[in-house]
Symmetry: D2
Subunit: 346 residues, 4 copies
Amino acid sequence: MKRIGIVGGTGYTGAELLRLLLAHPEAEVVTITSRAEQGREVAELYPNLRGITSLRFDRPDEAPLADCDLVFFATPNGVAMKQVPGLLAQGVRVIDLAADFRLHDANQWAEWYGQPHHCPELLDFAVYGLPEVNRQLIQEAQLVANPGCYPTAVQLALLPLIKHKLVDLQSLIADTKSGVSGAGRGANVGTLLCETSENFKAYGVAGHRHLPEIVQGLAQAGQVDIQQVALTFVPHLTPMIRGIHATCYGKLSVAGTNLQELFEQHYIHEPFVDVMPASSHPETRSVKGSNLCRIAVHQPLQKDTVVVLSVIDNLVKGAAGQAVQNMNIMLGFPEQLGLQVTAVLP
Amino acid sequence: MKRIGIVGGTGYTGAELLRLLLAHPEAEVVTITSRAEQGREVAELYPNLRGITSLRFDRPDEAPLADCDLVFFATPNGVAMKQVPGLLAQGVRVIDLAADFRLHDANQWAEWYGQPHHCPELLDFAVYGLPEVNRQLIQEAQLVANPGCYPTAVQLALLPLIKHKLVDLQSLIADTKSGVSGAGRGANVGTLLCETSENFKAYGVAGHRHLPEIVQGLAQAGQVDIQQVALTFVPHLTPMIRGIHATCYGKLSVAGTNLQELFEQHYIHEPFVDVMPASSHPETRSVKGSNLCRIAVHQPLQKDTVVVLSVIDNLVKGAAGQAVQNMNIMLGFPEQLGLQVTAVLP
Amino acid sequence: MKRIGIVGGTGYTGAELLRLLLAHPEAEVVTITSRAEQGREVAELYPNLRGITSLRFDRPDEAPLADCDLVFFATPNGVAMKQVPGLLAQGVRVIDLAADFRLHDANQWAEWYGQPHHCPELLDFAVYGLPEVNRQLIQEAQLVANPGCYPTAVQLALLPLIKHKLVDLQSLIADTKSGVSGAGRGANVGTLLCETSENFKAYGVAGHRHLPEIVQGLAQAGQVDIQQVALTFVPHLTPMIRGIHATCYGKLSVAGTNLQELFEQHYIHEPFVDVMPASSHPETRSVKGSNLCRIAVHQPLQKDTVVVLSVIDNLVKGAAGQAVQNMNIMLGFPEQLGLQVTAVLP
Amino acid sequence: MKRIGIVGGTGYTGAELLRLLLAHPEAEVVTITSRAEQGREVAELYPNLRGITSLRFDRPDEAPLADCDLVFFATPNGVAMKQVPGLLAQGVRVIDLAADFRLHDANQWAEWYGQPHHCPELLDFAVYGLPEVNRQLIQEAQLVANPGCYPTAVQLALLPLIKHKLVDLQSLIADTKSGVSGAGRGANVGTLLCETSENFKAYGVAGHRHLPEIVQGLAQAGQVDIQQVALTFVPHLTPMIRGIHATCYGKLSVAGTNLQELFEQHYIHEPFVDVMPASSHPETRSVKGSNLCRIAVHQPLQKDTVVVLSVIDNLVKGAAGQAVQNMNIMLGFPEQLGLQVTAVLP
């Protein structure tokens, strides 16, 4: 049993991590912290956990994080970068579910996140935790930057095309739709049921923080500079709790490729990517609560625009599940351990 | 008071027409027909209408349609084309809310709708009922083809760009999201609450019937042949009852235009198109139950991709409301008569 | 045109009042106030009102309330009682949509609302604004206490039985279900979509503030002391935006009454109470956005328990609509003026 | 590994059974049948199962049911009673999830289900599968009648009070609320998203088939004749997929009992009944996908009406999960085997 800590346990991501880790046969959560809820039973906030765990939220500064084998940060952006150096120095491995270590460029980070980076020297030390790209590096990583939810869905959709240089990198569009849980458990008017139910809207069209993260990943896959990738990224808020659906578009620069076969081959060994049969339309409910990403590739009317549809659960493959997948890789467990959950449907 | 008939009144479109016409000061609904529900009170199916109307569904073949000034068809595709010629011959004006008269080309109609057209000679006689394009023609029309819901949202979003030849017609993408009412009131497993709630998916990516209708309209606006317009059209099903959100993309072929001003000018005299301020994100709930189309135009990061967001209520501006707007134009009423409804929010 | 003011316009009740009054032919809203949003356009918070009004929120202390013919308070409990005496002194008539003047007994008020009452001398001066009970008194009232949402639904369901002394007053149960908008527009975790969607729960079983209000009304109808009424009141939160469904139970103390006829006769002249046919099940959607209360009375298996089902829109008949109905009565307008809205369905 | 068959696998109950059994370490589903979908992959209907199972629906008359150790019937009412006698004769044990064997009285069955019972001789042979009541009998049972969803929630709420003779059996009320999945996967207009979302209504107030089942169970617990139990049962349809909330009322016939302690003691050894702390309000989401029933007992204002709140997942503890619990008991497995699933929240 490995000793695991969770910093920032009141949000949906932290709670989802806890749910997954409580069912994981090789992980023992020894502490989960919260400044606002310290001393309170986790099951009071998350009634599904009543009877499953008697954990209470620890004060962050009293939590036995240094005694952990691995610590997850499920904190707001900007928190982990202040505490991670200390933990690393004590030999604790870290997975950060926030954005602190996702971008390589400290200036870009400062620009998109509105504050200077606290430890830019770690940006190249951190490994971007998309196992389908960086599995080998993750094994030895001391610090893993867990990808954002949209970046996971969009990169998995576009990587096969870009790796094989099949699309015009100046033509990319990612039209993404997220359930409301992506906005977190904060008390905001904008995510009340009365404001989001029976409603659909775009947001952040002028520029969303996940854009540079996606572009960085796509540029790396295409072995080009980030300036060579032009991605239009439009996120939307959908009246449901969980799920991301990415609809990605690109102009094919090469004709005649069997895209279905290409995608199937690309992901043939991936335990958590399901390339669906030709003509499929993946549904977000089919992955709810599961760590799967389901993908379908289309070439409508055989024209030169390729459409890739991908779905994930934003809190699982888009956050906590992928973090556990990374933990499994880092700690040498089978990659699917504790993650073989089937979506509950309907 | 004009005498109005509704053929096919059990579906959501027919019921919405009835709701609007019951509140219209110059229209009297003299008959609403249904084969399946003949004799039954409309208010039994639509409990909101209890106390508002005592109309019962008439047998189609007994309904006094010939005595009407204007008849709406809210029937499945393929029904109106069989009955309309007879009504026109009796001097009754017709608005068809189905697709029977939307395409000019009978072969194209047959291909997309899977049956030969019954009266191809009427295809050029019918006027496509998008008032923002064809207001003058609608005034004198005997037969109006009311546009589809997606085509309304997408055309209103793209027309200003195309009229002014600002976008590459080969680069168009319409990523559209619809509430479930767009699928009608039929008893289908696919539209059960348990199959659609907490779920998001695309459908019809290989080709949707609204595609040729949109392309026809865009080509006409751009004064080009339909072959010169390449539109990728991907509709999605959203877990809500009403509303369409179209997210439209195009490559600008001309730089430097003030798109905000262009859109505002283009629609400055339109009573039912609201161009929102720069940086806006229109919400479907803001038009629920209303005949408005709200539009916002964006140029993310000042690059050469333009993003136009438009929202309508699929059953109002996307169907029954636009039909009443057309009726107002045809019968010489003020265009907004009976249509000045504010969306109920939250 | 009467000059109308709204104090506290950012909440759902204030916004609903504004929506109704903007469509009212005899009312002109001259001011709507908000401390938090002063200076901001109302349509920014309520995008459905864009193009309908250009009102901005006024600072409460600068608003021309004294120049109004009638002022509505849509403020949190405890606010109106501090400002109403001054307005009354200036001859302004007031309708309070909060609970400040609903209870006659200042001690009871203090007990349930956790603070002493600021002007107990007004408690008997205020008229309880349930038109179906107090229409005559409302006509001349200077201060009307608009009923709570649950109290409206429950009283309208039970009054006919109690007036005719048909039920055991010690046996009453009101099992009520409300949409989430009843909890207001405050930024609370408990009313986030992610906390309330796909969920159903009771709350406040130990005692809800609407209980004494209902008991007071029922006791008055039965001409008994409030101690003689024992009502068990259990509210529940339902995953929808609008609507209250009250399921009320009582033991019949007299056998053989035709309850259907009794209810129909009792409400025969009421414009906003619809007694449905025997065996009906009223639906909340049938009154969404409308001021109607629909009621059905059942006597299952002909036993001695009567079940009365009633539905209202909590923001209309349960708040703003009833307030406008009261305004109409106070100002001598036809009672239905501006309130003849049909629910939008689906 | 035991060989398991499922008859009637296209409905939500059958699919939920399959989901649970696929994760069960001692069960192997050897056949799942469907007349309508024979030959089709189960994962086409239930996309969550894609990659988890390659089972296809078998023709009912070709399925190897006789080779099974145990067969579940997840068929419409009236189907199992025709096939069960044959299977029992071949030594196959059966759990029927429909209502065929729930009532002991064939006349009562015929009256409520509208057809004569096909094998009334089995009604006393069948064991009513509520483990919290009949665990011992279930162990040896050849035929188990799995309880209905409402009967499970209501009986678990009321049994402690009735066993201890604390309530007036003539005063019982069960006001129950169910998600839409309780109505099944049939193609009905009444369960479309557009008809049920943003809506709340009662149904079947005049008499619902689960009423005699509940009364039978309560009478047995109270050791009285069914005529001595008067239960008013009012079910409601709630706009969500899964979950039942029962709000049960009774007049206490004995004062002074510590009800909290009574409930805790009554269920202290039950693995799937969670008596919550005093003043709790159980939420349906806390048991979604899980086999738990969570219960809270209240005595509002210390008066003589007791209120018991209970929640279950209608498809799990209300159907498939309870069936697996019964299977575990019958086959000698640990009762919780394969059922230790935590609800996914949010």
